[in-house]
């Protein structure tokens, strides 16, 4: 079962523009993570935000979390062609050992 649902499914922007991806989830969480996947490769962890945090930054990444709306957003500022990838949100689930992923947003940054 999917916990996170990303929106949009695909996004195409010009280099230098900002990219915003959204994630909604269904049940209470302890944390929410964002991962990146280059075409045909494994996922790489980008950033984690805990349920008691509202905003977090890492370089050009900004993540927000609204637990009342069960939603998160990932903002990539001043995007580059190298940011072209799929981005997934992931949440924990009761039991501690399970991380559940959404279907992902495919981002294409045109040079």
């Amino acid at each position: 079962s999917q916990q996170g649902e990303e929106d949009p499914q695909a996004l195409s922007i010009q280099e230098g523009e900002n990219a915003t991806m959204n994630c909604s989830y269904k049940t209470s969480i302890n944390n929410l993570q964002w991962y990146r996947q280059n075409s045909g490769r494994g996922l790489v962890h980008l950033i984690l935000i805990r349920s008691n945090e509202r905003e977090k930054h890492s370089g050009r990444l900004r993540v927000t979390l609204d637990t009342s709306k069960k939603s998160s957003s990932l903002l990539i500022t001043a995007s580059r062609a190298a940011d072209t990838a799929s981005y997934f949100c992931a949440t924990d689930r009761e039991g501690g050992f399970k991380t559940i992923f959404g279907a992902g947003t495919r981002l294409f940054v045109k040079a």
Binding site: Q2, Q33, Y35, G42, L43, A90, F97, K98, F101
Partner: protein, 115 residues
């Protein structure tokens, strides 16, 4: 850096064959996971293991089994491969305790085609 290595990048097998997918991690992580990734469905958890010889079913364990004889190695077994098991298989590991579901380290994936 943590390294999670999957033995094959691409694999082609025939229906009915027994298939072994191997995964090795070098960071002494207790937790290891097998996911499959299909277009539009994201990643779905097949099995996970939180210790040697321990295993737990994930969301879609049917048709699969796993083996964890050593801490660093987690194998996924397709007992009798079927065409609907054609997919990208991703192995991941994570450290123990509270951090176990805070950051997963993934291998590069195995694209399995069952003909």
């Amino acid at each position: 850096d943590v390294k999670v290595t999957q033995s094959s990048r691409y694999l082609v097998k025939r229906t009915g064959e027994k298939v072994f997918l191997e995964c090795v991690q070098d960071m002494d992580h207790e937790n290891m996971f097998w996911y499959r990734q299909d277009p539009g469905l994201g990643l779905r958890l097949i099995y996970f293991s939180y210790d040697v010889k321990m295993k737990e079913k994930g969301d879609i364990p049917e048709g699969y089994s796993v083996s964890r004889e050593k801490k660093e190695r987690f194998s996924l077994i397709l007992e009798s491969a079927s065409t609907n098991q054609t997919s990208m298989y991703l192995c991941a590991s994570s450290p123990p305790g509270l951090a176990s579901n805070e950051k997963l380290f993934f291998g590069s994936g195995t694209q399995l085609s069952v003909l």
